[in-house]
């Protein structure tokens, strides 16, 4: 009988329940969904909860400035800005590029190696057990370039395993469109569900390697107490 995988407890109670205790450690999880579905908020809470429980985290933001990112996220009651630069590091893509000795160069395997090397430098520097890249769409040269995406994720996975870290990659592309959906360890699909003109934010985990998990669709709310999760009502249908 296989031994139980070690878990990275996200601290998002509803999500941990769905996952049977948390994300299996070292997994790379794609959080995919269209605009306004709560991807960034979920990923940020993952890092803040980690920081609170003593697991350092790094957020690489490629689409927003730090100030805009923090301003747009609901003010979490358990977040303390004193975490910044200590348990929680936020780095823009520009800062990451400036921090490397050499330019990233072409979107090829050596170019991917350079990106991973600069991410590893951040992970080591911050002693990070949690990593978020928001969004991965900007980092990858072409989300439909399967060979390069697979290469990138393989070496990212090796690097995370070496440091005992777990990663969330945020993507705007739906998992069906995204080439990386098939190569990541897990997928959390965020969506908007329209019902009689009302728009509900939903979350579903269709894939998570290393754990038995619920595949049902849940309704979520983004609040100052964190991402809250409840079952989707079906009305006996």
């Amino acid at each position: 009988m296989a031994s139980e995988r070690e878990r990275c407890v996200t601290g998002i109670e509803g999500l941990d329940n769905i996952l049977g205790g948390g994300i299996p450690t070292n997994n790379i999880v794609l959080v995919a969904g269209s605009d306004g579905t709560g991807k960034t908020t979920l990923a940020f809470e993952f890092l803040v909860r980690g920081a609170v429980s003593g697991e350092n985290g790094v957020l690489i933001t490629t689409v927003e400035s730090k100030s805009k990112l923090l301003a747009n996220i609901p003010s979490l009651v358990f977040y303390d800005e004193k975490m910044l630069g200590k348990q929680l590091s936020i780095v823009t893509l520009k800062e990451m590029i400036d921090g490397t000795d050499k330019p990233f160069g072409k979107a090829d395997e050596p170019g991917m190696d350079k990106i991973i090397a600069s991410i590893e430098k951040l992970v080591i520097g911050a002693k990070a057990k949690r990593l978020v890249i928001d969004s991965i769409d900007t980092v990858l040269p072409d989300e439909k370039e399967d060979r390069l995406n697979t290469y990138f994720l393989t070496i990212l996975s090796e690097m995370l395993h070496k440091h005992g870290s777990t990663a969330i990659l945020v993507s705007k592309a739906s998992t069906a469109e995204s080439g990386i959906g098939s190569v990541v360890d897990g997928i959390i699909q965020m969506s908007n569900l329209e019902r009689k003109g009302d728009l509900l934010r939903t979350m579903q985990v269709p894939k998570m390697k290393g754990t038995a998990h619920s595949r049902a669709k849940y309704v979520i709310d983004l609040t100052s107490a964190g991402v809250l999760v409840t079952t989707l009502l079906k009305g006996g249908i």
Binding site: K196, D198, L200, L228, T231
Partner: protein, 194 residues
Amino acid sequence: MSEDLHSRIALKLEAVGPSVSIGLEIKIESYFDIVRGLIDDFASKRGMNCIYITSSVPSATLNSALQALEANTDGLRFIDCVSHTMMGAIQRVDNTVFVENPSMLENIILKVEYFLRLAGDKKTVVIFDSANSFAIHNDPKMLSEFFTIILNSLKAREAYPVVLMIPDQLRVEVKEMLGMVCDVIMPIEEERQS
């Protein structure tokens, strides 16, 4: 007589205890007396929080009425599912969150969870006002699922869930459903006359 009603409701709820879902059968003319009894005489005077989910009367109206009755509203939180539907200007207040309409049942569950988390370990009374207005906006099967989930969840957390209902104006199927999902149906008017 009316003064007795709100204090008697508090005593009756206290006798029932936590973790019991109560369907409170009320008459419309006693409405504010009963609301006062639940919020002031029962929740506030016993040091409990109160989450008031309204799908019938806007929270601003209830707040004004409670102030006029000099009720203590310190631990009171509203989940207002009606003000948005009226398309008027909404007054944002600290103790109130808004849900767009009473058919967004999952969002109501999540707002209750939100207030419970903020309250921590403090005991909480959760009032649903009312089964009648929820039944106007929702399919009975959906409503049945909603009440089953939320009442069980509240019972597990040792809360005091109370569903207000005006029995004369309820469809038979909704009344039957409430009989199934509530542990106790409490006819307040009968008690008052005894």
